[in-house]
């Protein structure tokens, strides 16, 4: 595994989360450097979302520690919250508000001073190509526009680390491409560290600097896409890596459950 020269922005040590007897995340240790785009892949129910929920302070860990942007997720949750952005898999923009109102809400929640709010919102809208539709209700937006708005929301306070949970789920190929262009743009301009989950192996292969494959709550492999593919054999794709390490079993067997499926489908529908 290559070591990054820049200071780590996400430093996870033995992070574990149990739900009763189930170990959803099992002694995960990962270090992610500044400006790195880090992909999390794995079957449904493997623990990716649980890991992200811990790193974003939504869920306390059972054991282990993690520093995000230099703050302890358990002991300094507010510090973490000030320095991260989170685009959840579900719909986090409010459909009953306009794009502008959604951004204003975020700006206020993140304590951006009043005299800076207007300018930052205008810039975020422009960057995400939403200036024209800022006054429309979000429920009239397309899936791709909603995702862009959500990214804009999560960027207003200039986070050091951005968590994107399935940012391209339910989007058409053109909208997916646009989302990734924005992700790359942010990294290149602001050195924002990104932690991204996706089921699209082609995207992960193309855009992530390093990836971790998570299965049964444990890390099955970490490395650059090229490294992982090389280990899997000549001419192997990331899909082959996935299947080799996780096995050919179907997603449904690995869990997820009705609630997750319902939520994912609803989210996909609302984004579609």
């Amino acid at each position: 595994m290559e070591t990054s020269v820049s200071p780590p922005q996400v430093d996870i040590r033995d992070l574990t989360r149990r739900f009763g007897d189930l170990v959803a995340v099992d002694h995960v240790t990962i270090t992610i450097g500044e400006g790195e785009i880090f992909g999390l892949i794995g079957p449904n129910g493997a623990g990716k979302s649980t890991l992200i929920r811990m790193l974003t302070t939504l869920l306390p860990p059972s054991s282990g520690t993690a520093l995000v942007a230099g703050f302890d997720i358990a002991g300094a949750a507010t510090g973490v919250r000030r320095h991260i952005g989170y685009v959840p898999q579900l719909l986090s923009a409010d459909g009953s508000l306009t794009g502008y109102e959604n951004l204003l809400l975020s700006a206020r929640l993140y304590g951006i001073p009043r005299h800076e709010r207007g300018e930052r919102i205008a810039r975020a809208l422009k960057r995400m190509g939403l200036t024209e539709s800022a006054g429309h209700l979000v429920r009239q937006y397309s899936g791709g526009m909603i995702r862009r708005l959500e990214i804009a929301q999560s960027l207003l306070h200039r986070p050091k680390v951005l968590f994107l949970d399935e940012p391209t789920v339910g989007l058409d190929p053109a909208a997916r491409e646009t989302v990734w262009e924005h992700v790359l743009d942010l990294r290149n301009n602001f050195r924002t560290t990104m932690v991204v989950t996706s089921h699209h192996m082609d995207e992960i292969d193309q855009f992530c600097d390093r990836i971790a494959l998570i299965d049964h709550g444990r890390i099955a492999a970490v490395g650059t896409p090229a490294d992982l593919k090389a280990k899997a054999g000549p001419g192997a794709s990331l899909d082959d890596v996935f299947i080799q390490l996780v096995g050919p079993r179907s997603d449904s067997e690995a869990g997820g459950g009705y609630g997750d499926v319902r939520r994912a489908r609803r989210a996909a529908r609302e984004h579609g």
Partner: protein
């Protein structure tokens, strides 16, 4: 270091978003107005014929109008928590919870949005009461007092509702429990009949019900010559204390709603 101003902005942000939503879609405010109309015009007119239902020389419709005001505030507030479940299912809740806003600021913001909805109901009940010939006190001090009581009462029951939402986490269960709770809170109070008509056990229950003190304070504020049975200090004291306790509980539970 957190300043009080930042706290206030975060609280206000949550309430402002709710007000913006109401502005985009105000239909809800009008449909909600139907219930108080029915209570005052049908129930009120009939019950006014019953001897002894209102205390002393107060006209029953006058007595009832403050009770129905409190009732519409209660009905608006008690279902306010469902928005948290809705937001949790969507993902909007997670957005609130990953923000650095203190959980109590978020909870108070939700309570404030309940208060705004309740105040819009109050305007309708006031207009209706005037239309029906109730001797409504429109003095500025009394109006300010009524706004304070309505805000406190709505905030209190909104926060109670949020606690239930955090406990049940699904819309179906929430609606069931909301229906089950509303009627006892309403009937075990002085909203539509005086406590003196109640059997002793029900009177005891009513004395532990914050709605009783809300109604009591509203009678003093809303009606010309209206008096409070318990004294406004007691009324405000109990409402404020109940709201504070519920806010502390709700802030803890809301923080765990992202699990």
């Amino acid at each position: 270091m957190r300043s009080v101003a930042a706290y206030a902005v975060q609280t206000f942000a949550v309430a402002a978003a709710e007000v913006q939503k109401l502005r985009h879609d105000p239909l809800e405010l009008f449909t909600r107005a139907i219930q108080p109309v029915l209570w005052l015009m049908l129930f009120g007119e009939v019950m006014a014929q019953v001897r002894g239902v209102s205390p002393g020389n107060v006209r029953y419709l006058d007595f009832l109008s403050a009770g129905i005001l409190a009732q519409s505030v209660l009905f608006v507030a008690i279902f306010n928590g469902i928005s948290a479940i809705w937001e949790r299912d969507l993902g909007v809740l997670q957005r609130y919870l990953v923000s650095p806003a203190p959980r109590a600021a978020l909870v108070i913001g939700k309570a404030l949005s309940g208060a705004v909805r309740a105040l819009s109901q109050a305007i309708i009940v006031y207009l209706l009461a005037i239309f029906l010939g109730v001797d409504v006190d429109l003095g500025p001090a009394k109006i300010v007092g009524a706004v304070a009581v309505i805000g406190l009462g709505a905030g209190l029951f909104s926060t109670f509702s949020l606690i239930i939402a955090c406990l049940v986490k699904t819309r179906e269960r929430f609606m069931g429990i909301g229906q089950v709770l509303t009627m006892p809170i309403f009937f075990a109070s002085n909203a539509i009949y005086p406590l003196s008509l109640m059997p002793a056990w029900l009177r005891t229950v009513s004395h532990a019900n914050p709605l009783t003190y809300e109604v009591d304070a509203l009678r003093a504020m809303m009606l010309v010559g209206g008096v409070s049975d318990y004294g406004l200090t007691v009324d405000f004291g109990i409402l404020t204390a109940a709201a504070a306790v519920l806010t502390v509980i709700a802030a803890r539970m809301y923080a765990r709603m992202g699990f």
